[in-house]
Subunit: 339 residues, 2 copies
Amino acid sequence: MSTTTNHRIRLAARPHGVPVESDFLRDEAPLPAPGPGQALLRTLWISLDPYVRGRMSDAKSYAAPMEVGDVIVGGTVSEVVSAESDALSPGDIVLGYGGWQEYSVEDVSALRKLDPSAAPISTALGVLGMPGFTAYAGLTAIGKVRPGETLAVAAAAGPVGSAVAQIARLRGARAIGIAGGERKAAHLEALGLDAALDHRAPDLPGRLAAAAPDGIDVYFENVGGAVWDAVLPLLNEFARVPVCGLAANYNATSLPEGPDRSGALMGQILSKSLTVRGFIQREFAPTMFADFQREMSGWIASGQVLYTEDVTEGLDRAPETFVGMLRGDNLGKTLIKVA
Amino acid sequence: MSTTTNHRIRLAARPHGVPVESDFLRDEAPLPAPGPGQALLRTLWISLDPYVRGRMSDAKSYAAPMEVGDVIVGGTVSEVVSAESDALSPGDIVLGYGGWQEYSVEDVSALRKLDPSAAPISTALGVLGMPGFTAYAGLTAIGKVRPGETLAVAAAAGPVGSAVAQIARLRGARAIGIAGGERKAAHLEALGLDAALDHRAPDLPGRLAAAAPDGIDVYFENVGGAVWDAVLPLLNEFARVPVCGLAANYNATSLPEGPDRSGALMGQILSKSLTVRGFIQREFAPTMFADFQREMSGWIASGQVLYTEDVTEGLDRAPETFVGMLRGDNLGKTLIKVA
């Protein structure tokens, strides 16, 4: 390992609306050196996730925003180059949070060592990682989907949504997947969902009502916008809405035109005894992650849960790939293969 | 009991906005006769409640709307005149749902016999009845208020809100009561709340922020509108919002002007991991009503929970009193004393 240069992609400016190339700054820095209890890692895979768009803004959210100048954040799977710790050896593969760069230094205590023989290492960023756990935890702790119920999920061709739909079916529910475009709808059908709807085709409300003749008991909210507008009138009394993301709003720069429907939304929550509950997966990690790993590993091994990865090669292409993902170009888990 | 006439107040027309006199029809009918398993009841007290405004409209809600021509619905405390059942005797006092009339015939199985020596019988419509149980169940099952947390409640001088605030304090929380007008704010101070705010005075957001220096962990939603707008930015991560009523919206005839803030509301739910949960007390009655009666009876006997009744005499005055209650004229539980 003779490289002495670390290529990085940093936040050059806070995006206004959809991120553009000038919001990103590519640079080179000397290879960082690990201190005691730290490891130098070579990035193999970078996870691109919609929540990162939120962290580029300075609006108050569940996580502190990035500062201008910071390396763009993101989960990573990396190879240990060197470690100032007995817990890791060079060549070990670890899950970390190295961000958009070729090398990172991280605290060994924050890393999770992966077993490359158990599953492809990239799945630690997808179906066996944060997105898969988001699906599992939201369904289990909030959605509480029961046999015979109807679940709907948007962004259903994405890594969270496709896990949601498949887990719901394993628990005995009907699963309606909603995604943008014919290619994704066809993918949902291939996953064996009970209904697959393209939200870009005409009359989503009518098609969704037809697909949910008994109403909707659980709506796993990834998206917001027009899909949510179509779902809300179909929710049954006591329906549960885990709110995991609102991708339709992430690039919004101002509130949409009126009328103001926020009071009407509260009225629906009241009149149908709805549970609308925002969450971040880490809330449930201490109590559920071990169960998730055990169950999901089994489902993957048995083929009961299928997953798809959308891989782009090269760190340099991370910005365009990220913007494409926000636009919905990806099918499955969006990954950058770095090394 | 020689009366043969039953004075009633019926729904003459569905109100458009604030109910007006012509929406109500006063009439007389022959005294109804009980069938097998039924009782003829003489109404003593009628409960006036905001939810009845919703049932005057034909919008879909948790309860079927009244039909034009129906006697206005409402909880009642009545005296048994005669019963085609061994379970009740003439002179017994019962809680029922007789509505706005002097006499009613009800199924004995739907009545609850009251013990007049245990508590004033009118409390079965207030602090020991549906409003008190609404407060108890919403706080216990959804609000889950913990010692050291901060709770806020609007319509805090009403029968639900004042019980919410007092129960929260008994459970070790700080309680901020919000109500309309100086008279009600003074009443909240007399109840010993930690802060009492008049939402009609200027700068509610600023005064609420000052009263909640550690943010708000539970907001018991009775009202909606400007109070909710002031509360939302102060909610802490993982805050819980039991949604029990939206009195500010009940007379609305159209959606308010934009911008549309419904997406921003969902964004707050997501970014702060909020729980927003609509409920009707009956959902929790099977599991919690017995505990409620035991605990609340004790708190009333010990003076740890105080309650206020706002009594108007005479069935004829029910419509004007109901409209006044929707306007916020009442202090405490609004009752019509019929006989």
